[in-house]
Symmetry: C2
Subunit: 293 residues, 2 copies
């Protein structure tokens, strides 16, 4: 099926920090959009722009033929997809289900297989790029599932992201996102320790960033979060709470693959310590507080 | 003093992987160069190009008025500078001593102060950029000490590096290098774990690098060492053994600053484990072997 504005009603579940912007781009492009969110208030902006509200996942499933979700945890994903009043039981024949939540690869495969048995298609398509990437429609989208389904949906992904990559079979989008979160979180912890050292040693830490960023120690985390750390800008582009969730998925999955990822484990420990200090809704760069407070 | 080819004889101690290329650039620019190295064989190329060999640090000190060192460990630095037949006791009045070894900030300050008392000048000026940066004369050079001495030497630094930064008082070059090594080593460990996960999960790890490098997980380590890891290219641009040395300096210094850098500590543990497997002269990217062998 070629997706057009005439033959498609998009259902969007999850209008939080990321989802709100992403769904907005679909509306702006002229697609019919039906939305559902646990907290209705977070959908009001979209309703003002012309989206239609429904009171449940079930209602949404009955009205739409392309359903996009970006919600909290794998548990939430399981409920929305596989629960009693969920998408799997209620979606219309031939619908396409796209989960953009960072979730478990195994759950993605389970959803994909159940969908197949019901004449539905499912993709896992987690994203990176944070709230700014979502706002500016330049997310990276990592996709797993059937290539044909990916090709059908590509124009829709193109409204939300810039770097859209088909990574292979079902679950491979989630696996790629896990790789991303491991590298990102460990790098961030390293940058924290480096800049904490700079600050304590007496060197001008802003000059340290300048020296480091072009060399072997350079990273996008250093560029983006380094300055935020030094200016105590701990506002959330990405919540501590969500990173912990992602890293715990990574830990479970890596263990099942027979890997012992020690740096990952220690990073989780640090973030949990930060969270216990009441920082779960701070931005991930707030990890710096563990070192300099 | 304005440094010219007529009024300056440069002494160069340490013609290893890095020093050999660095000293070569000074020769190429037309400076008179006297060299000493523990193993003479490593200086032969330079001697062929016109450098003069001396048999000891003492002999070198007597002949030169600008002395550059890039040697092994802080212990070696201490011996060469402060030992019985060392530079401090034997350098000519007014000489400038530049230590480019990655070494202890405290030792740099000690050398700086003793030099002052003897009418000598001293700078700490560690580098990053690896063997390739040294070969192509585009090292980053981080300098601590008196600004006037820095300004005098700047043309000489310019023959070896591209990004030459004065970081402040004596020891601040070494402090900056420590910041660099912490961020670099922790990032490298994170990239290892991310790509180990990719490999085990079944996703094409080369595609994972492509997806990650432009986003929040992107780093120069991922770009440079990621591909080396995946193609089992573990040749040394920078030895495991030297990184362990650097990170141990970082650990000692950070403790004295009252910092508990857990990610640094765990990175050292991983590298020691790698070294015990006989990989001390492998490149730092060989850390990947801990995960995929």
């Amino acid at each position: 099926m070629v997706i057009t504005k005439e033959n498609t009603i998009i259902g969007f579940i999850g209008t939080g920090l990321m989802g709100k912007s992403m769904a907005g781009h679909l509306l702006d492009a002229g697609y019919k959009l039906v939305v559902y969110n646990r907290t209705k208030e977070k959908s009001l902006e979209l309703l003002d722009k012309g989206a239609v509200w429904v009171d449940s996942v079930l209602d949404l499933a009955k009205r739409c033929n392309l359903i996009i979700t970006i919600i909290g945890t794998p548990k939430d994903v399981e409920e929305v997809y596989l629960g009693e009043n969920g998408l799997m039981e209620n979606a219309k024949q031939g619908s396409i289900l796209v989960d953009m939540t960072t979730s478990s690869p195994k759950l993605a495969v389970k959803i994909y297989e159940e969908a197949k048995g019901k004449n539905l298609s499912a993709l896992d398509a987690p994203v990176t790029g944070g709230d700014i990437g979502a706002k500016e429609a330049r997310l990276t989208i990592m996709v797993g599932g059937d290539k044909e389904t990916f090709d059908e949906i590509l124009p829709i992904f193109g409204l939300m992201g810039k770097n859209i990559v088909y990574q292979g079979e079902s679950g491979f989008g989630q696996h790629t996102k896990i790789c991303n979160q491991i590298a990102m979180a460990v790098t961030l912890a390293g940058v924290c320790e480096s800049l904490a050292y700079a600050k304590k040693s007496g060197v001008n830490p802003q000059n340290v960033i300048k020296v480091l960023e072009t060399g072997t120690a350079g990273s996008n985390i250093l560029k983006v979060h380094g300055h935020r750390m030094l200016t105590s800008d701990f506002a959330a582009g990405f919540y501590v709470k969500h990173l912990i969730k992602d890293l715990k998925i990574a830990l479970v999955e890596s263990k099942e693959l027979g890997l012992d990822l020690e740096m990952l484990k220690h990073t989780i420990t640090l973030y949990e310590r930060l969270s216990e200090r009441g920082e779960e809704y701070s931005g991930v760069q707030a990890l710096f507080k563990l070192y300099v407070d």
